[in-house]
Symmetry: C2
Subunit: 219 residues, 2 copies
Amino acid sequence: MASQRRFDLNHVLDQMVEVFWRKGYAATSIQELEAATNLNRPSLYAAFGGKEEMFLAVLRRYGDKYNAHLMAALQQPGSAREALCLYFDKLAAQLSDHHLPPGCLLANTVLEFGSAKEALGRYVREQLAMIESGFYQAIRRGQIENEFRRSLDPRVMARLLTATAEGMALLARSDFGEAALRDIARSALLALDAPGAVTSANRFEARSPEAVPLGPTGL
Amino acid sequence: MASQRRFDLNHVLDQMVEVFWRKGYAATSIQELEAATNLNRPSLYAAFGGKEEMFLAVLRRYGDKYNAHLMAALQQPGSAREALCLYFDKLAAQLSDHHLPPGCLLANTVLEFGSAKEALGRYVREQLAMIESGFYQAIRRGQIENEFRRSLDPRVMARLLTATAEGMALLARSDFGEAALRDIARSALLALDAPGAVTSANRFEARSPEAVPLGPTGL
């Protein structure tokens, strides 16, 4: 019986990732998760707890499989500019990979839970802060190595690149293919070379303390 | 009785816009629409048809109230750069207006229906193409008036600004406030002044013909 058999947790999570990624949290029913995993409701509840706990486990699995390699690209040694290009090339390829659901599960979840006070909301904001911090550190590295001008505000540019990645994720759910997504990323990176600069007058407004990333570079 | 009384259609639509904007299509129940509009299910079905038709009417109402003034900003006479800044200032203010649900109903709907073959999917792609076309025409105008370099690819830059607007809409559902959103827009506009240029090798890949905007400037 399904409720008594042992199963590979990561394999089950992969099947649930697929459903939630395609449909979103609210639109996914326990019946669909049962069908995707070939496990019944008591087995799923016994393994994960309720739907919210299932989804948190799914988000963590998604992060390991689909976000960790992007964050690693940002930290590759050598040119910071090339690291940023690599991040965005990998992102454009993943967002439009026809073997995967379109777009990005994290971006979908920002829409559903970005401002929620509960664990899901906190998790999503932490992930966004981690991405923003990754961009910040790459830009700072590029400034220290004289690839980027010192007059750039790395926090503002990190926010631009975060918004660019999220906008790409959203448009990948429509009819934007890989080349169009790559164009978007490459043109956002042009802003790093523009003669002007945007300096935020009020850099920390409206962001909760938990969302301010504290990276090893002392952001 | 609710089912027999006459009602102001736009007022009812405004109440339904609020619910769908906050919760998304899938997570909104007819009961919630009944509660928000103070109309019962038969009245709602008689007025609109099914849930999908209600949502299409809601999207059109949303466009009239919350997108038309942004598109008008892009077309204001004078400097194209100022028109783009005005668009994004208005967008940042609207996305973070505490009297409205956070973010943008259209962006939410791109996630839910961006690739759907049905009427909702077509409507969403048409709206995205209209926004992209608005940016394209403003950038072309700026090139003709020598505000922007002729070597810019206006289609690529229009895509960047579309992705920026959608990324801002997504981050507004999290903890990004108005100043942070404005920083993102201003730094994206810096890309218009960068010395480099991104020219797409394959500009029309993966976009369906219906999504290619054909504006009066002969895009």
